[in-house]
Every structure is written in C-alpha cells, then in structure tokens.
C-alpha cells in the first residue's frame, strides 16, 4: 500500500469505521451499506481537504468506489 492509498484508506475509515482495510479497498457505493448521498458528499469533502485537490463535477461519476477515488487522485498526481 503506497502513501496515497494509505491516506485514502484513513479517509474511508473515518466515514465507515466498521470496515476493515481490506473491505475498504474493495468498497463501492452499492456494496457498502451506509454509503448514501451524505456519506458520498462527506467522502469528497474529506478527500479534497486531505489531499488539497478539487474534485470536479465531471469526476463525480468515478467517485463511487475506493478504486475510483484512488485512480482519480493518481491522475491528479501525474498532471
């Protein structure tokens, strides 16, 4: 697990405290109970603040899984 993934796991863990790290890495909005619109908005806010990035509205469609968040952050690191 690299630094970005570890930090993102911390963000998910704060919102879904009942999930293990393994479950977090496989988390999707459909599979995780409690990933509702409020949790989604909170996830975006906390990730934006922690990584000091802006997640644009055209990226929202990707932000429905842990993997989607991670890919989005990695794309931003490459830019």
């Amino acid at each position: 697990m690299d630094n970005t993934e570890a930090r993102l796991t911390n963000c998910f863990s704060a919102i879904f405290p009942e999930l293990t790290d393994e479950q977090i890495r496989n988390a999707t909005s459909t599979a995780v109970r409690g990933w509702d619109s409020v949790a989604g908005v909170t996830l975006i806010a906390v990730v934006e603040e922690e990584f000091d990035v802006n997640l644009d509205s055209d990226e929202l469609s990707r932000l429905i899984s842990f993997r989607g968040f991670l890919d989005c952050l990695r794309d931003k690191e490459l830019r």
């Binding site: 704060a14 806010a45 906390v46 603040e49 922690e50």
Partner: protein, 576 residues
C-alpha cells in the same frame, strides 16, 4: 480542526459509549459537515458523554425552533444566515431582486427576526441557547457597486443588530461575537458556492470548523480568573519611579507610552466587573503611594488593593496579597515586564498565570490585553462583583478580624442578617458562578455548565437554596448555595458551596438549620468528596458528624438538632 480529525473524534466518541448528551441544532441550511464539527468539538468539551445532535428540516429555521420545544436536549445551537431572514437572500432562490421586492425582503426580514427573537426567548427560559448571527457575505442584490453600502444592506444589518441586541439580554442566550468570527475566519473564505448549490451546505470547511469551535466555547465550563496582580514600573506606567520620579513616569501619547494608559483603563474595567486588582512592585512604598495619587491615572487608584511595595522578592508580595484576598494562586494572573520576576513568582506560586508586559511592542501589549479579556471574561456581572473589593478592604481594615477570636457575642454585635431564597425556576448565574469557582468550602468540587446546572436543579424533588448575608458593615450579597433532593423525609445534598468571604460567621450552621426547618428531614446525606482543597468544608462536616466525612455520609435528624442547638446563634431571617 480538519474534517478528517472531526470524523475521527466522532468515531472515538462513539466507541466510548458514554451517557447520551442530547442537543439541538437549528439551521435553515443543510448542516452536513457543521454537525460533524460540532459533535467533534462538543466531544472534547464533554469527554464522558456521547453527543447526539438533533437537526431539523431544510429551509425552515423558525419551524425547527418550534419543533425543539418538545426536545429533551440540554442546550440548543442556532445558526442564522441571511436566507433564514428571507429565502430571496440566498443564491438557491430564483426570485427577483427589483426595487419593490427589496422593500418586501426588508419587511419579511424584520418580521422573521422578531419571530426568531420570540422563539429564542421562550426556548432560553429553560436551556442555554448559543446563537451564531449571519456570517456569509450578502448576495449582490443591490444596484450599488460592492464597495458602496446600499440602504437595503445597511437596513438588513440593522435588523440583525437589533435582533442580536435583544436576544443577548436574555440570561441563557449566548450570542457569538461577530468580531471574534471576523478575526478567525476571513469573510472571503467562508462561502462555498459549489457546496451551497450542490448540497445546501453553504460553509467552507475551515469556516464551519471555526464556528463550531467558537460555539462549543460557550458550553465549556470555564472558570474566569478572579484577580490580577500587576507590576508598576514599566507595566502600569512607563518609567522607573525611583529613577524618573513621580512626574517622570507616563502613560500618554506624548511620551509614547499610551499603551500603559490602555492597560490602566482595562484594569479599571476589570475592577468594575468584580476582579480584584493588586500591585506588587520593588519600590519605596511612600513613592508608590504618591504616584498613585496622580490625578491623570486612567483608572481609579482606589481599585488597587493591596499594594505591596518594598524590596523583597515578588513571590513574597504575591503571597501576602493572596493571603489578604484569601484566594488561591490558580485564580490569579500576575503581570510584569520582567521575565525574571515572572519566573520567580511562577516558581513560588504554582498554578498562577504569568503574563509578560512587553514594553517594546504596542501590538504585543494589545494582544496581551485581549488575552486578559478571555481569561477574566464572564457572561454577567452581579451585585456581589461590585461590592467584592470594598468588602475585602473593610474586612482588612476592621479591628478584630473575623478570622480571630470570634465569639457569639461579637457576631451579635455585627447585626447579621441571612436571607434564604428557594426559587429555582430561573437561572441564578451568581449561584452557578459560586458553584464553579469556590474551592475551599465546597462539598465535592463538581463543576457545571448552565445546562447541566439547570437540569439538576429543575428535576423533580430537586431544591436550590441560595443564602445572602449582610451585617452592620454592609452586604456580602449571595454567598452560599446548597442544592440537592428532598424525598420521603430524606434530604440528599449534592452541592454546597460558600464564599470564603463569608467564613467565620456560622452561616453554614444557619443554612443547615434552615433546611431542617423547611424540609423536616429525618436524615441528611452529603455527597461529600475530598478534593484536596476543601478542608474548611471537611472540617465543618466533621464537626457535625463527629468523625471525618466520607462519600455519602449521613447524619440523623436527632443528632443534627443537638449539634445545631449549640451553634446557631444568628438572628431570625427572612425567607424568599
């Protein structure tokens, strides 16, 4: 605090599984992250509780306040924004902003503000209400450029100011100071337009964090400092009295020493609020007395008592002043320009707060004065605050101090009067202040917020007795508070404090006699706990029990009657 920290704090709080602390949050907007920040901040204030925040419906601040009427919460938090005064002031509305509409917006805002005022007044009769006034920039509804205030904008601000002025007078309402918010959250970094449009949550995260932290400060049990000891040379005034002479010291613009005048004025303001002011200076006493007689001082020198001026260590001066005031070092702030003197006093009086008067920097002095404001700040000034300094002077000047050779005959000569008040319907903030700051005559050292205090005294079978005292030398005001429960001929006392100014007058016996007369209990139980500082209370209970007190110690009525017969010598008193 960052949102991730707040979420983790809430997670940690839930893990603790403490008793639930119910509280209400009234907003017209979607509270989203504000609620998380508030939970996190409150979990720090109440580390043993599980903070549960009830919120209302989106876009209906007044309705939410109505819904909270039936709530069991311990306190309420209200965040007003412009769109709560009229939805047309928010960016989510599509309503027009023509001349006619703007007049109508003002009219709606006025009536909404009045309705909010009435609702807050009613809710605050039983619980603490913390209120945040509009913090977001007004939308561009007016025809003037942004640097020019239109009459509509100034009228809207006037409506909010009148509303704030009215509610800040209610005893259980705390209004967040706009100046404090301005200093800690820049205006242009408050509004999150995207979030407002997307979710209805209008605050940027740092602003939501600042507001939450600020509101939580109202709920933190805070014990204001009670006294300040100031140095004189290069502190109360600029210059060295022994070298520059009486006329060489200054506190004015001409001598670039105006910040000393500001400090003097601030001390005068503290004194008028009941803070004791003393002076400790390495100087000739006669010179100091003469300097303090200067007519142009920016505070009345009569408020400075006592004045310790000699060449002994400052820690000795502080010790003598504390002895005169009969208060502990942790209630006191010591201000001096010399780091050495500050260190010497701090070493000699652990717990005292030492602040340096930085003569080289006006800005640092200004900052220190603001720091003092926070250390001494309290929600209200009571009659007892106004007479405290006078009482201490009188007690020190009086022949045959109360601490020496008290006899029943002597007490009678002082024509003492004790008045008891059992009213518990409204918050007596002086009673709560006594509970929270008294150390020596204190049953168990428990402290309370306004909310927790109102909860315990208004419960069924709960009673509250506040004793006031006066004698031929003048009034001491409300000096003792007893609270507990009276059930089935049993009295359980969970709170008993008495001001140290009222010691040696046997008022504690009179209080006990009054409780016996009023409730006629068969026994009284005391929720006593040793605090390491409450020896006077322990000794008193020891006399009553004829043994060292222990937690939940009980005394039977028959024993009590016998003890009281020996001690109650004060004359009959009036009951409220």
């Amino acid at each position: 605090m960052k949102l991730l920290e707040a979420l983790n704090a809430v997670k940690e709080m839930r893990r603790r599984k403490g008793d639930v602390l119910p509280c209400d949050l009234a907003t017209g907007f979607c509270p989203l992250h504000l609620k998380t920040f508030l939970q996190a901040e409150l979990s720090k204030v109440f580390p043993n509780r599980n903070v549960e925040i009830s919120e209302g419906l989106f876009g209906d601040l007044c309705g939410n306040l109505d819904r909270f009427r039936k709530s069991e919460s311990e306190f309420g938090m209200i965040f007003v924004e412009w769109s709560d005064l009229d939805p047309r002031l928010g960016i989510r509305s599509t309503a027009r902003w023509g001349e006619t509409e703007l007049s109508d917006i003002l009219s709606t805002a006025r009536s909404r503000a009045l309705r909010l005022q009435m609702q807050i007044k009613e809710r605050s009769e039983s619980k603490l209400m913390a209120v945040s006034l509009p913090t977001l920039p007004l939308p561009p509804f007016s025809f003037t450029p942004s640097w020019q205030a239109s009459s509509y904008e100034t009228d809207l601000r006037e409506i909010v100011q009148s509303f704030a002025s009215a509610i800040s007078r209610y005893s259980l309402v705390r209004v967040l100071n706009s100046q404090y918010v301005d200093l800690n959250s820049p205006l242009k970094e408050r509004f999150d337009v995207e979030s407002e449009l997307l979710t209805g949550f209008p605050y940027r995260l740092p602003h939501a964090s600042t507001l939450s932290f600020s509101i939580a400060r109202f709920l933190r049990p805070q014990i204001p400092k009670r006294a300040l000891i100031t140095d004189l040379d290069e502190t109360l005034w600029k210059g060295i009295l022994g070298e520059d002479g009486i006329d060489g010291i200054s506190w004015d613009l001409e001598h670039r020493s105006q910040m000393h005048a500001l400090y003097q004025r601030f001390l005068g303001s503290l004194a008028s609020g009941g803070v004791l002011i003393g002076a400790a200076s390495k100087n000739e006493l006669s010179l100091v007395k003469e300097a303090l007689r200067r007519k142009d001082l920016a505070l009345s020198s009569s408020v400075i008592f006592p004045v310790e001026a000699h060449w002994n260590p400052k820690s000795q001066s502080v010790a003598r002043i504390l002895d005169t005031w009969n208060i502990n070092a942790d209630s006191v702030v010591f201000v001096d320009d010399s780091p050495l003197e500050l260190a010497e006093v701090e070493a000699g009086h652990p717990g005292i707060t030492c602040l340096q008067f930085s003569t080289g920097s006006s800005q640092d002095i200004q900052n220190m004065i603001f720091q003092l404001r926070d250390l001494f700040g309290k929600s209200a000034i009571h009659h007892e605050d106004e007479i405290r300094s006078t009482t201490i002077r009188r007690m020190n000047a009086r022949e045959g101090s109360f601490d020496r050779a008290i006899t029943a005959d002597f007490l009678e000569q002082t024509k003492p009067e004790v008045n008891f008040d059992f009213n518990k319907t409204m918050l007596d903030s002086r009673a709560l202040e006594l509970v929270n700051k008294t150390n020596q005559f204190n049953l168990n050292g428990r402290r309370h917020t306004e909310s927790s205090w109102m909860t315990i005294i208004t419960e069924t079978a709960g009673f509250l007795m506040v004793a006031s005292y006066r004698d031929k030398f003048g009034p001491l005001g409300r000096i003792a508070v007893i609270a507990g429960k009276a059930e089935e001929k049993k009295l359980k006392i969970h709170t008993w404090v008495m001001s140290c100014r009222a010691f040696s007058r046997r008022i504690e016996y009179k209080c006990l006699a009054e409780l016996v007369a009023r409730f006629e209990p068969e026994e009284i139980t005391f929720e006593y706990e040793g605090t390491g500082r409450n020896a006077p209370l322990r000794d008193f209970l020891g006399e009553i029990l004829e043994t060292n007190p222990s937690p939940n110690c009980t005394v039977a009525r028959v024993v009590l009657d016998r003890r009281l017969a020996n001690f109650v010598k004060l004359p009959e008193t009036a009951n409220g």
